[in-house]
Amino acid sequence: MASVWLTGLALVLAGPVPALLARARWTRSVPRAAIVLWQSVAVAAVLAAVGSALAAPEALLRVFLHPEERTGIALAIAVGAAAVLAGLIVVRLVVVLVLLAVRTRVRRARHRDMIDLLARAEEFDAGGTLRAGIVLRVLDGAVPFAYCVPGRVGREGRVVVTGAALETLCPRELRAVIAHEQAHLAARHDLVREGFTALHRAFPVVVRSREARDAVALLLEMLADDAGRRRVGDDAMAGALDAFASSGRAGYGSDVVERLDRIRACVHGGRALAVGTYLAAVALVVVPTVTIVIPWLTDALPTVGVR
């Protein structure tokens, strides 16, 4: 039975749940809790998939063979198949994650080197808004643009703005943008994004990993927006978004529209909703483990001779 439950759980967590969660509107009022819930869905889905891969061969053994036949070669084949199936999932995920992590860090290092060489020599006075361990760099550029590049562990991250951005934004809006980028760096939002990017690269089709990646990216932007709103104010944060989006030929993306709507509607999360979301996130990982995996282990392990 365990394999049926785990397979069902894996399918639900890989398909309908991400689809629904990506479309949900309530998540924008509690972005932090919603991101934790997304992470929990991802972990639970992978665990369920690994679990069902481990349990399926043993379940087939039970269906097709009498208890006295479940020994020797049949058992060995079942155990081997389980190991290979589960290993495929785990190895694929780990390999993709490591490759992505290496490539990302190489690209970042090169990007930081170039920024440091090309940034304007004069120090820009950000009005004492920068935290320790973060450097502001101003690049000459006709496109109003701002972004952050995480540093190596223990080293300085960079908040980068273009000259055009300095001209476009008023001082308060600029402080809001800097606060937004600092929030990304300080809370290591890049690691969260990296996880979901790897998940999508490892399992790009069938499962709803693209929706998960994009929804989490948007929630991270909202979370950073909230930091800017707290630090400087709703109007400054919305003004900055407006100025950036309206200045480019690319125009307003749907993500920017959602972020603007959210700030203008003064969406603030309810405590109850946040707590409920955190509880759901914990339950998603704990409940299947306790109700399916542990009973299955106590049942299946003696079959293979583990006591």
């Binding site: 690209r107 090169r110 994004r193 900055a240 030929r249």
Partner: protein, 128 residues
């Protein structure tokens, strides 16, 4: 002097030079109280980062910027603006994801410009 500033000063000399420079050339052009070995170390670091090209010229090495200042600026912006869609690696996080195809094309054109001289004419006919 901070190492970062020194690297910038050395790069500025390489960018403004007409031809690859020796360590001695860079050292003389910097017009600062610097040890020869310091300049050599900085050039070595920049070469290791791939920002400077190293050529053997007899017994000495000559150094040139790997790309022009404009090319590097364009590469930087393209890297920053281009971190969207399937290329996304979470290497950096943009405030507003925004790369219009036209903006990307402009930047890519800038990247194709040779280090010294005028832009390559596209297909023989100069663009108006």
């Amino acid at each position: 002097m901070a190492l970062g500033e020194l690297e910038r000063a050395v790069m500025a000399q390489l960018w403004s030079a007409e031809e690859p420079l020796t360590v001695r050339d860079v050292h003389d052009r910097l017009e600062r109280e610097l040890a020869y070995t310091t300049v050599m170390t900085v050039l070595g670091r920049l070469a290791k980062k791939g920002l400077v090209r190293q050529e053997r010229d007899g017994k000495a090495y000559r150094y040139a910027a790997a790309s022009s200042r404009e090319q590097m600026a364009a590469e930087l912006m393209l890297d920053a603006l281009g971190d969207v869609g399937e290329d996304r690696t979470a290497a950096l996080v943009a405030f507003v994801d925004r790369v219009g195809p036209e903006e990307a094309a402009t930047l890519r054109r800038a990247l194709d410009t040779p280090a010294h001289g005028t832009p390559r004419p596209a297909g023989g006919s100069p663009e108006s």
